[in-house]
């Protein structure tokens, strides 16, 4: 039994979630502030993967990063970076595809905090960063955990977008969801079942953990 797709999936989910946490926190903080037209547009773009068919997103990523033309060609020639049919490409696609799952809960939680919390901190002489780190962030912990788990779990289950940009290369881009599909194609139901059960168990444990952790802090862990 080849478990490399499972390890590759976990590696992809860990890297994607870490990158999204670093990029998503400041972005969600910025979006949670006073509304503007620019923010509305950016928020709409971030939300698009929720409603767009994954294959469509994957198709455009494939075109954009194809080493034969445009941006992909430039990246390949100048920086020797190739996103198509590589693990880097999977990370990029997952980053874009899972972004709303990280940004959404954090932004909502920040918006629900009374504005007077930050104001009180400012009048004590604290900077915006000190206020974010010491006052705002500790008070959105349940939503932060929800965002991390949803992002991780969502990345585990990605299929269409990953298949479009990464293909099905063993040990490189063949993640668990693709391994399931591939095994079924080859009538290897036993392997498909094993991969599926492992994915099911991991995601179930994660969701249950969030429900337990947030039990006393949020009305619904998916808020």
């Amino acid at each position: 039994m080849d478990l490399s797709p499972i390890w590759l999936t976990l590696k992809l989910a860990t890297i994607t979630t870490s990158l999204l946490l670093v990029a998503g926190l400041p972005l969600a903080w910025w979006l949670s502030g006073r509304r503007s037209f620019v923010k509305t547009i950016i928020e709409a773009i971030i939300t698009m993967p929720l409603v767009l068919p994954p294959s469509v997103l994957g198709f455009y990523l494939l075109l954009a990063f194809s080493p034969q033309h445009g941006l992909g060609k430039w990246l390949h020639e100048v920086f020797d970076i190739q996103f198509v049919f590589s693990f880097k490409g999977l990370v990029l696609a997952s980053f874009i595809y899972s972004m709303p799952f990280m940004i959404g809960p954090i932004k909502s939680a920040l918006q629900q905090l009374p504005v007077s919390l930050a104001q009180a901190s400012y009048t004590l002489g604290k900077t915006r960063w000190q206020t974010f780190k010491s006052v705002l962030l500790p008070n959105i912990k349940p939503s932060l955990l929800t965002a991390v788990v949803l992002t991780f779990a969502h990345t585990l289950g990605e299929f269409g977008v990953v298949l479009m940009i990464g293909g099905n290369i063993p040990n490189v881009t063949r993640v668990a969801s693709i391994a399931v599909y591939d095994s079924v194609e080859q009538m290897d139901y036993a392997s498909a079942n094993t991969y599926s059960l492992i994915l099911f168990a991991i995601t179930f444990i994660m969701v249950i953990a969030v429900f337990i952790f947030n039990k006393y802090q949020a009305k619904s862990p998916l808020e």
């Binding site: 009374p114 009180a120 400012y122 004590l124 002489g125 604290k126 006052v135 500790p138």
Partner: protein, 205 residues
């Protein structure tokens, strides 16, 4: 002397209202600000603190200009550092009483003294959710005083206190205000409240 001359448009039910204040407050004085709901009492405090920008105006605190819309001067709340007691207390849910005060100042002696003043010295490891309304309100006052502000802005600061606690706290606060030389502006809905204590009154219509 604190000199304030501001104009701020307020959105009110079915229309607009212009908050217009032109007033001087003597250094070290205590002034009660009162008036009907929606007149802009809280907004005035927030304008002074730098949390809300007025359309036009000038605020001078001693020789320092905090705001002058004519030449674009507008100090941030962090530079003005007024003590501010919010009407909703604005306590930090993640912090204990001790952590609230330690967040504001590193002067442990001052913290100990404030805790005694607010009768919260036995509850230092409690978070706001485990405090009564009166205890929360006292913590909000102590946190504002922790930075020894020269200007103290208090929005309905005694509304959750029983008369006995209120009288005792006010007696202690008066000494502290004098000691740190704070000019105090207190918003109150009750026209009779604080009459035997404050030096001046400002009515906002």
């Amino acid at each position: 002397m604190i000199s304030i001359a501001i104009e701020k448009n307020l959105k009110v039910y079915k229309g607009r209202h212009v908050l217009k204040v032109d007033h001087q407050f003597a250094t070290g004085s205590t002034t009660k600000i009162y008036g009907p709901s929606g007149a802009g009492k809280t907004t005035l405090l927030k304008v002074i603190a730098g949390l809300i920008q007025p359309e036009q105006g000038k605020i001078m605190v001693g020789q320092q200009c905090w705001l002058d819309t004519a030449n674009g001067t507008n100090l941030s709340p962090q530079k003005r550092m007024p003590g501010f007691v919010f009407q909703d207390y604005a306590l930090f849910p993640n912090m204990t009483i001790a952590e609230h005060l330690a967040y504001a100042t590193s002067d442990q002696q001052w913290i100990d003294r404030l805790l005694k003043l607010g009768k919260l010295d036995t509850l230092t490891d409690h978070k706001p959710i485990h405090l009564s309304g009166g205890q929360q309100q006292r913590l909000a006052i102590l946190r504002a005083l922790a930075i020894k502000p020269k200007v103290l802005l208090m929005d309905e600061p005694f509304s959750a206190l029983d008369p006995e606690m209120k009288a005792e706290l006010i007696a202690g606060l008066r000494l502290v205000f004098k000691e740190i030389g704070a000019t105090v502006l207190i918003v109150s809905h009750n026209p009779q409240e604080l009459d035997d204590w404050v030096d001046n009154e400002l009515y906002i219509a």
